[in-house]
Symmetry: C2
Subunit: 194 residues, 2 copies
């Protein structure tokens, strides 16, 4: 594992621009949790804001509204099994960090637990309360207050997918425990009119 | 191009569960448009609902609010250049369908223009007006009223990424015209506790 490096906030949206499945972490009053979420997206570059769907049944939802924040951690290809595992049990019944041997550190602004082991990047977010969309669509909004990435795959505001960092290639949940892995980075070419 | 087949509505969320970049199409009063959007996600399985970020400056936003609907079309790997091209110009200045030679058909419920050529699937959506989130976060919600997919890559409610359908593998925008392509489909394995 390389040491994570800070990501400038105006580049934070790029960390999830391509739709990776993420691990949502949160902590409050001595409790902490990890859940998997395929449903997240940026909504604004500056200030960097994101949306994520957190079901009403989840323990994480209680921690977010109690603690006022959360983090999105972006698992790499080697963390597929972990991602599916934490998405298939409830933090009400166990401390998933301890149960699955996941090490976390405290992010710098809100102290949210973030995972670097097996992950490509993380975004620490302040909860932006929106009672109606949380109720009607389970959609939570957050403002990114800190972000960091493994410089082997994200540096100077850009992703660099290559054969050398295949363990950090992002994973994208198709449903029912099946994932596709992102790779084969390509630049678009200018297109002539028909 | 294979003939698209209908996708059952309770499977529609799976079409964008893995975060592909999409083409948002809309039409109203004889005008139509295509824009690219990296920022979309499902928000509910049943009824199938999605969220997509549509900037206030876009022509598509006028068409959605005027026409009451939109569609998300999911471009395959061969459509990277088209996706970037339609995301880099405005429909106020041209009919992008004509300009880039894109053929569309009318989706069955609302008549939204959907693209099958070069695409893996589409979802036709009824606009769910949410003035606050549209204003504060540029976030639009929609309910999927029809969906279809190319059975070479999506059938019976499941994606099937393989070497044989590489042209339909979904594309995921990293930013600034750089994309990663999804591939290498893998099933998660059960994980023992630490």
């Amino acid at each position: 594992m390389s040491a994570f490096q800070p990501v400038e906030l105006h580049h934070a949206s790029r960390l999830i621009n391509h739709g990776p499945t993420v691990l949502v972490t949160a902590a409050h009053h001595g409790h902490r949790n990890i859940m998997a979420a395929a449903w997240s997206m940026p909504v604004e570059f500056t200030p960097p804001r994101i949306a994520v769907v957190v079901d009403k049944s989840t323990f994480t939802r209680e921690l977010i509204t109690g603690g006022g924040g959360f983090a999105l951690c972006i698992p790499g290809a080697n963390a597929i099994d972990l991602t599916y595992a934490v998405g298939s049990c409830s933090g009400r019944e166990m401390d998933k960090f301890a149960h699955f041997g996941v090490t976390s550190t405290n992010a710098p602004v809100l102290g949210m637990p973030v995972i670097e082991q097996g992950c490509a990047a993380w975004l620490e977010c302040r909860w932006l309360p929106e009672a109606h969309t949380e109720d009607a669509y389970d959609t939570f909004f957050g403002e990114v207050v800190a972000a960091a990435a493994d410089p082997r795959i994200f540096s100077e505001g850009h992703w660099h997918f290559s054969h050398d960092n295949a363990d950090l290639h992002t994973i994208h949940h198709l449903g029912a425990g099946k994932f596709v892995i992102a790779g084969n980075q390509i630049a678009a070419k200018a297109l002539d009119p028909a």
